[in-house]
Amino acid sequence: MKQRDLKGPHGTTNVVEETVRNPNVMPSPYSPTIELVGVSYGYGKDLPVIDDITLSIPQGQWVTLVGANGCGKSTLVKLMNALLPKGEGSIKVKGLELQSDTIGKIRQTIGMVFQNPDNQFIGATVEEDIVFGLEGQCLSIEVMEERVKSYAARLGITDLLYKHPSELSGGQKQRVAIASILSMEPEVVIFDEASSMLDEKTRNELLNILSDMHKSGRYTIISITHDAQEIAASERVLVLHEGKLIADRTPTELFQDEKILEMSHVIAPFAFQLTRELHRYGLDISIPNCEKELMEALWPLHLRK
């Protein structure tokens, strides 16, 4: 076990120990929603897949986790939800140390959409799948009906509510998975490439939903993604490289740092790329938000000549 970095208001180990012994003790209001200290993990006796990661995510933040294929992103978020056996280091969620007796409580705080939409389908119909989590939260029928209706509408799956999962297309399955988790309104939402098979339009809609959730301030969002737009919309980017955390910065900073971009296998959004290329031709314009802005920036240059 690595040395723990304790930053409770009392600054002593006692708080932690007490929390561990009795998970019902209210966690301190100042503690970050998620806190990892010296977390390492390896499958079997292979090299560590996650290597000594320390990070903390405050309540309400929208974080994206990026990195090349196989760098350990899925593994890291699975560790947060105790879906893998405990490795080294300590993981705290809302001040609760992750241990066998707190797993249940922690899982209730975290809602996770997995990378493969197929195997996370529990119900025999779309509706039942959404309801499964809600029943576990002991909600009343009216609330459940309300949630099913509103989240199905938001993700555009109202027509599919009575279908069996094996009758759905790839993107449809993914939307159901997202609806099932969001309808539970968990405090922490983790998306493991949840938009990878969505078409552009649905992806934009999902992005809007995430933005709304973020604005409401009630949710902490952790999203694994390769999508430049989604990264740009988030607040903070964590870059993983071969199991190590190599950068922790804002999206704009990331998109301008070519070295990190290269290591994290991220490609900047089209507008960023275009601006960068234009700079090479000596056309200095700032990054446009849409084609109109680009034109507005280019036209004066054109007229000047």
Binding site: M197, A271, M295
Partner: protein
């Protein structure tokens, strides 16, 4: 002509009380040696369409002609072994495509079935891994102990190892990181340009394929609503919205540029490099 569809319909669970139409009256003509992109909203029938290219699904009615084999709805299908050797299909979910207990066995499955010796198959497996940028040490792994992206790469490699004439891929870039994605598209582009293979790709990210594809097909609710070149696509871009597709950024930018600078009829420049080069030319051309 590599692939021709005439009035093809497909229903899931046809003839049962729960039949579900997935394709309706699809007409399609794809020449050999092209790189074609297929786009469409979720559930529009793309995956269903692809599975007809190598006879995995047979049309409920209509005619599908792929290379020299013809499948007619309602008729008994001819032997498809040869067709499958020539048409390689990568499925949408890689997890579903891998079934052996090591990556190597999975990669060798196709080549051995199509008559390679074991050694040759292994050699091909290694080459395909290299093409996909995968480490050789993964060969002895169980495919299900890979990360999502690695699994997809293995699935693609297992089809490339068969060395097919027509390569058909269902959302091959989903879950790949952007660099691998770009590399994959480059690889497929090379296969098409240098080796003359036909490559057909379903994608939700039209941007990354636009600079390379010379044909596009757009599906909407089981029908082909567009088929043609990139140029024609750009001209009709406004209709894309009604098919549930967002107009790709590069097209939007290009359209704005060509409108402002009056470039109608010019071949589009859709990659960031090409577009910026063209812009620079345009901006400085006025000097003269």
């Amino acid at each position: 002509m590599a692939i021709t569809f005439e009035k093809v319909n497909y229903e899931y669970d046809a003839n049962s009380m729960w039949s579900q139409a997935a394709l309706q009256g699809v007409n399609l003509h794809l020449e050999s040696g092209i790189l074609a992109g297929i786009a469409g909203a979720t559930g529009s029938g793309k995956s269903t369409l692809l599975q007809m290219f190598n006879g995995i699904l047979k049309p409920t009615s209509g005619t599908v002609q792929v290379l020299d084999i013809t499948l007619r709805g309602g008729e008994k299908a001819p032997k498809l072994h040869q067709l499958r050797k020539r048409v390689g299909l990568v499925f949408q979910f890689p997890e579903q495509q891998l079934f052996e207990d090591t990556v190597e066995k999975d990669l060798c499955f196709g080549p051995i079935n199509f008559g390679c010796s074991v050694d040759e198959a292994k050699e091909r497996a290694r080459k395909a891994m290299e093409k996909m940028g995968l480490d050789e040490s993964l060969l002895s792994r169980n495919p299900f102990q890979l990360s999502g992206g690695q699994m997809r790469k293995v699935a693609i490699a297992s089809v490339l190892a068969m060395d097919p004439e027509i390569v058909v891929l269902d959302e091959p870039t989903a879950t790949l990181d952007p660099v691998s994605r770009a590399e994959l598209i480059q690889l497929l582009h090379r296969l098409c340009r240098e080796e003359g293979r036909t490559v057909i790709i379903v994608t939700h990210r039209m941007d990354e394929l636009l600079p390379f594809a010379n044909q596009w097909v757009i599906l909407h609710e089981g029908r082909t609503v567009f088929q043609g070149t990139v140029k024609a696509l750009i001209e009709q871009a406004d209709q894309m919205e009604s098919y549930g597709i967002v107009i790709p950024q590069s097209i939007r930018y290009w359209r704005a540029i060509s409108e402002k600078f009056g470039l109608s009829g010019e071949d589009p420049c859709l990659s960031a490099e090409a577009m910026s080069k063209r812009i620079a030319e345009l901006v400085s051309a006025e000097d003269v």
